[in-house]
């Protein structure tokens, strides 16, 4: 029973994507390119988490921020 529901849901998505209109395909292409640019290019090259990349522990991070707020 559970398996039937799961396969039904999967088929629903598979059918939906298979029968996408040309507009739908174009929009999905835009979404995928955008996600690639945002998560791969921007995130990795330009937007590292400053505190995570510079310090190894929460203690070090808190010490850095404490220094910043009290200098």
């Amino acid at each position: 029973m559970k398996r039937n529901i799961l396969s039904g849901v999967i088929m629903f998505y598979v059918d939906g994507f298979r029968n996408l209109s040309s507009l739908g395909r174009r929009l999905w292409l835009i979404i995928l390119i955008k996600l690639f640019v945002i998560f791969i290019l921007l995130r990795l090259l330009f937007f590292p988490d400053f505190l995570k990349s510079e310090y190894n522990s929460d203690k070090e991070r808190s010490e850095h921020v404490l220094e910043q707020l009290t200098r």
Binding site: L27, K34, L69, T70
Partner: protein, 521 residues
């Protein structure tokens, strides 16, 4: 502190955040509103069984899909910026910002993505009622997603429900419900989402008017206009009510913002609201005396007092009262707040020294101090003032706050008249003969976006210098990174978002020209 800060870095980081937030907001309000308009149209279809309503629903659903696809994930960039450019802020706010954003992410993913799939893939595959339920859930889900980010923003405008832990240097949540149901958060959520409803209604009326101007799809356009104008009237009235609620909260928690948005320098009893005004330059008028700083002004007598306090003779503090203080009115001077903020910062320095020298007694005493309610109320609540070197830093950009507020309010009332006129002409079936109003509807679409942007400009610029009201000034929130990198990513974002905007307009225009199509269930 200020002399150690690279103002170019601060300004570029602010500019970048503003750019990404404003571009992101180009997509959001249409999604918030059009999903409800779709749900109403589909409800009419399911209840009447009239296939034409399905055609109407599917057309607007396509435009919603384009807007959603182009706009989705553009807000993620803001979260990247928090971690990279605003790390002091991100750390300082702790789990208070993290928790609502995490809930937003989960809700957006599960609610929206699941039911959006049913909306687009489900015609002919699920029952009419199930499909309708999915459409309503997309509308509710999209708006609930907005709730969490607006709660986080409201906390920045009015921090509540937390305490500062000097050991972790973070604000820790004490009461989730106090954060969620803070009056500022409730008003902000209702005001913001309903402003999205207004924008979407204007959008639907504008596009439908284009069809009428072209003498195409007359029934479709007429029906769309009826739904959108009724929804628009109700939403605009609600925006006015929640806007009034927001003003009453602003005067309590951000009185400087209220003074700036009205250009009120000297406080008054029975203060009038400027209906229309042009602020004069203040170079020749350094004191900016209340009545001298407008080149032109039409005032509604006593209305600012009424708007702020519900009493026509109430005293509304001006910028000078808030800076110099007004003991008669119980208003503390900015100088006194700065002294208190400096003391709170000094105690944090003492804590740092105690930690560095392993002075366990000192640590205990200072930790107890930061949990003591008297210290919190008398000193820590002014912590951010301890960073302020020049008192003028405490005054936001008055002309920008003033004009963005008045533009937002003026256009808000214009939309109400616009919707009422449209509804009357639509009911009398006179729209096709009134071509001027159809053309006006097309021109009104960009005005709705300008209004929405003005609201955010006021909310964010009017609260400067604070990133967290009274606790952290914006310049103290930035990470010590290379401002050159911020400049590069600023222009990179400008290019990416402009491309997305062009794609949105181009694809949407093509779909509008193609018009609604039959088919389905």
């Amino acid at each position: 502190m200020i002399e150690n800060i690279d103002l170019s870095l601060v300004n570029w980081s602010r500019g970048q955040f503003a750019l990404t937030a404003m571009y992101h907001w180009l997509f959001v309000p249409l999604t918030l509103g059009i999903t409800f308009i779709l749900a109403i149209m589909e409800t009419i279809y399911v209840r009447t069984g009239d296939e034409h309503w399905k055609k109407v629903t599917k057309f607007w659903m396509t435009l919603f899909g384009i807007n959603f696809a182009i706009g989705v994930a553009t807000g993620i960039i803001l979260e990247f910026e928090f971690g990279t450019n605003w790390s002091n802020y991100s750390w300082f706010v702790g789990d208070i910002f993290g928790a609502p954003l995490a809930i937003e992410g989960i809700m957006a993913f599960f609610l929206e993505s699941t039911f959006i799939a049913v909306m687009f893939f489900g015609w002919n595959k699920v029952s009419k009622k199930f499909h309708l339920a999915a459409t309503w859930l997309v509308a509710i889900g999209a708006n609930l997603s907005a709730l969490w980010i607006l709660v986080a923003n409201a906390w920045m405008q009015h921090p509540t429900g937390m305490h500062f832990n000097p050991d972790t240097v973070r604000n820790e949540m004490l009461n989730f419900w106090e954060v969620l149901f803070s009056p500022v958060a409730v008003n902000k959520f209702l005001h913001t989402v309903t402003s999205g409803f207004v924008l979407a209604s204007v959008f639907v009326v504008g596009i439908s008017s284009w069809f009428l101007l072209r003498k195409r799809e007359l029934l479709f356009a007429h029906r769309s206009i009826i739904v959108a104008t009724i929804f628009g009237i109700m939403s605009t009235l609600y925006v006015i009510v929640t806007g009034d609620g927001s003003a009453k909260k602003i005067v309590q928690v951000q009185p400087m913002k209220l003074a700036a948005m009205e250009g009120l320098y000297n406080g008054q009893e029975g203060a009038g609201l400027t209906a229309i005004g042009v602020i004069s330059g203040s170079k020749d008028d350094p004191e900016n005396k209340n009545m001298e700083n407008f080149a032109f002004r039409i005032e509604i007598p006593n209305f600012l007092s009424y708007m702020a306090y519900g009493k026509s003779n109430a005293f509304v503090p001006g910028i000078n009262d808030l800076i110099k203080g007004n003991p008669e009115r119980g208003i503390m001077s900015a100088g006194e707040k700065i002294e208190r903020g400096r003391y709170a910062r000094e105690m944090l320095r003492e804590y740092k020294k105690a930690r560095e020298t392993n002075d366990s007694t000192g640590i205990q005493i200072l930790q107890a101090m930061f949990t003591d309610q008297n210290f919190i109320n008398d000193y820590f609540r002014y912590f951010g003032y301890g960073f302020i070197e020049n008192i003028d830093q405490l005054i936001p950009n008055v002309p920008l706050s003033f004009y963005s507020f008045h533009l937002m309010v003026g256009l808000g009332f214009y939309f109400l008249i616009f919707f009422i006129l449209f509804l009357i002409y639509a009911i009398r079936k006179k729209l096709e003969q009134r071509r001027w109003i159809l053309r006006l509807a097309l021109l009104t679409i960009p005005l709705a976006y300008i209004t929405s942007m003005s609201g955010w400009t006021l909310a964010e610029m009017g609260r400067q210098p604070w990133v967290i009201q009274d606790l952290m000034p914006t310049f103290a929130a930035v990470s010590q990174i290379d401002s050159g990198t911020v400049r590069i990513t600023f222009w990179l974002f400008a290019a990416i978002f402009t491309m997305l905007l062009i794609a949105e307009i181009k694809i949407m225009t093509t779909q509008v020209k193609a018009g609604p199509k039959d088919g389905g269930h």
